[in-house]
Symmetry: C2
Subunit: 408 residues, 2 copies
């Protein structure tokens, strides 16, 4: 008998039939003797419908009122899901974020959770009820409705699991788990059974968009075991947990990649202190996020400074750099949008220096030129030409035996 | 400079354009220096959409969850209307029923208001804000969302006006006021400028369905001046107020009528004590509402007992009476569904005994036979054959000069 927090996204509750299916799924957990708290998103399409109404009235709606508007989406779902449970004979009770009292700060549309009052939920569970909570929303000290921003329902679920000290937080979605890489690129990509929070963060931020980064950070901070699984198929999904809990940890967990990158180089920059700041300062001032950064000393006390940005930001960043290059007396600004980033991720690589060299060797054997390299404790990233993406991912997937369990 | 509570119904806020039009209307009141609290219903069609979703999931949804679901309708409107006001440069703030703290009892779907916390609203008004409140909803002592049932937004508006001691409560609707009778029957029916609460209650219950009875009762109890006016046209509408405020009160304010009545007679009932109860007891036990009741002593110590019911209840009521008649040894049960009720309403008639006789004379001149008569302090009702409805209303409208102001 465990206490489980389950989260169902918009697709999983997208119409009355699916809402009934979720109720049936929860009923099975109740039959097995588990206590269940369910967190739900707005029915798919509803948030867009509401945003569309707002746009027709005011192109720049005030954030406080946008929260009042959008929070109705989950409120509709909690009521309908509770009704579906009642029809199955389950005792269920719905709560908006404000009714639970999920207290947040007052930053409307991207509020952060401050505290959760869990007594009412505990009482309901004790009384044998399923508790249905609206995700994505809370209330600030003034009683104003707030929303947590994109992916906020995942965060609500993890925060509730942390507050209730739940045994597991299950995130139901339209994929059946986290894979060693994108199955559309590598057909024998394998579903990962267990992965650490750190690895998941690297995988998520690099493109395996199953879970919101913030909810993984939250789960890691409060050590909440997180499980990603499918709403529509049975299966164990992928468990995301702390390193201690990952008993048989592989060296490499997966290969993430990112097609959205672009590379910029300021060549022939006089090598003086403060150059990096003078180059990146104006870029970050323009709210452009910089990912990988590399600086090498070249000939004649000049240096080449290279970094990557999101492909959408490439043109603006290049314009900024042209100006900076003039001021610095740099030689030229070059760039490339036809590049991709490819990363090996695994906590096991901490103790194995050989991983990086094996990676470079594999790519070299395929004739793939490496443009940039960047490493962290648990990942090695390379930038390569876009056209080599599939070849690179597949050859690494094979070289590290990722299609097999517990390797290499 | 006055404090005005305005209520806009579902048709008045039925789409983004109309919501913007409401915001513009409110802006004019602000320009004139008035403080405004706006109460809104769900956008027309929204409640049906939500009810439809619930029906697909559970044909008998639990009332608590139905309230959670339906209350989102007004919540959407308050957010959108506030956004529309911001766009016009008005400072506006929205409140759900729970946020105001409109405290109700816990009878979901037809809750009654217990108290209203008005401090936040007063503070907002003082700060120059328009306050936008979700009608139809409140919150009970446990923090559960409640709804006030049909017409509840009118009640919210009147209750807020009472709590805030507002100078006027304006109910915006799709008609431009209360008329002396239905303009579809009498083309020169006149819009009434001022009418008393009592008269309005008689008019409303008799078929002039402009305002919910409950909100008129509420306004009368707390002496809130109530004004019915059009969302779509300019005009003063109709003011509903206490008798003391109606300076030039006409003898007759209007003619109401009701097409939904049916008449039942138990003839030849032995005239004994308790007969009325033995006849009406079983009828009211079947939840059938009885309107007019007449009993006359006839020959041979036997009596005829006649009353009217809603036409939908006629068949059930007749079956019940057949049984009762046998038990009582009554002669027979007869009935008529082709009848209508027609009522003259006016506080002025209290002091003028001649009103009733003038009414009967007028109908007689037209050859209209009166089947039943019933009188109260401020109305005279007659039951006549259905086919004479239009003729009866028109001839009375002319006889009492209702097309002219301040008569007879």
């Amino acid at each position: 008998m465990a206490l489980i927090v389950q989260k169902y996204g918009g697709t999983s509750v997208g119409n009355p039939e699916r809402i009934t299916a979720v109720a049936e799924k929860v009923a099975k957990f109740r039959e097995d003797g588990h206590d269940v708290v369910v967190v739900v998103s707005a029915m798919s399409g509803e948030t867009n419908r509401l945003t569309g109404l707002a746009q027709q009235i005011n192109e720049r709606p005030e954030a406080r009122e946008l929260d009042v508007l959008l929070s109705t989406g989950e409120q509709v779902t909690i009521a309908l899901l509770s009704m579906a449970m009642h029809r199955l004979g389950l005792d269920a009770k719905s709560y908006t974020g404000g009714q639970v009292r999920i207290l947040t700060d007052s930053v409307h549309c991207k509020a952060r959770i401050v505290s959760i009052a869990d007594q009412k939920i505990r009482d309901d569970l004790k009384a044998g009820r399923v508790v249905v909570v609206a995700g994505f929303q809370g209330v600030d000290e003034n009683g104003s409705i707030t929303t947590l921003g994109r992916g906020g329902s995942d965060t609500t679920a993890v925060a509730l699991a942390a507050a209730l000290k739940a045994d597991e937080c299950q995130i139901y979605t339209d994929v059946d788990g986290v894979y060693t890489t994108d199955p559309r690129v590598v057909s024998d990509a394998r579903k990962i059974d267990v992965i650490t929070y750190e690895e998941m963060l690297e995988m998520a931020s690099l493109g395996a968009k199953v879970l919101q980064i913030r909810s993984v950070e939250f789960a890691s901070k409060y050590n909440v075991p997180l499980r990603v699984l499918s709403s529509f198929e049975d299966g164990e999904g992928t468990l995301i947990t702390s390193e201690e809990e990952c008993m048989e940890q592989a060296l490499i967990s997966g290969i993430a990649f990112n097609r959205d990158e672009a590379k910029l180089t300021v060549a022939g920059v006089p090598d003086q202190p403060g150059v990096a700041h003078r180059i990146l300062g104006p870029v970050s001032k323009a709210n452009i996020e910089v990912d990988m950064i590399i600086q090498n000393v070249g000939d004649d006390n000049a240096t080449d400074f290279t970094f990557t940005v999101h492909r959408n930001d490439y043109n603006i960043a290049k314009d900024i750099l042209e100006n900076v290059a003039k001021e610095l007396g740099a030689k030229e600004v070059t760039g490339d949008v036809k590049i991709v980033k490819l990363s090996l991720v695994g906590v096991g690589m901490r103790s194995h220096a050989g991983i990086a060299s094996k990676m470079f060797e594999t790519l070299a054997q395929e004739g793939i030129n490496i443009r940039m390299i960047s490493t962290s404790e648990i990942k090695v990233s390379v930038v390569i030409d876009e056209k080599y993406l599939e070849l690179g991912v597949r050859s690494l997937h094979t070289a590290f035996n990722l299609e097999q369990k517990g390797t290499p």
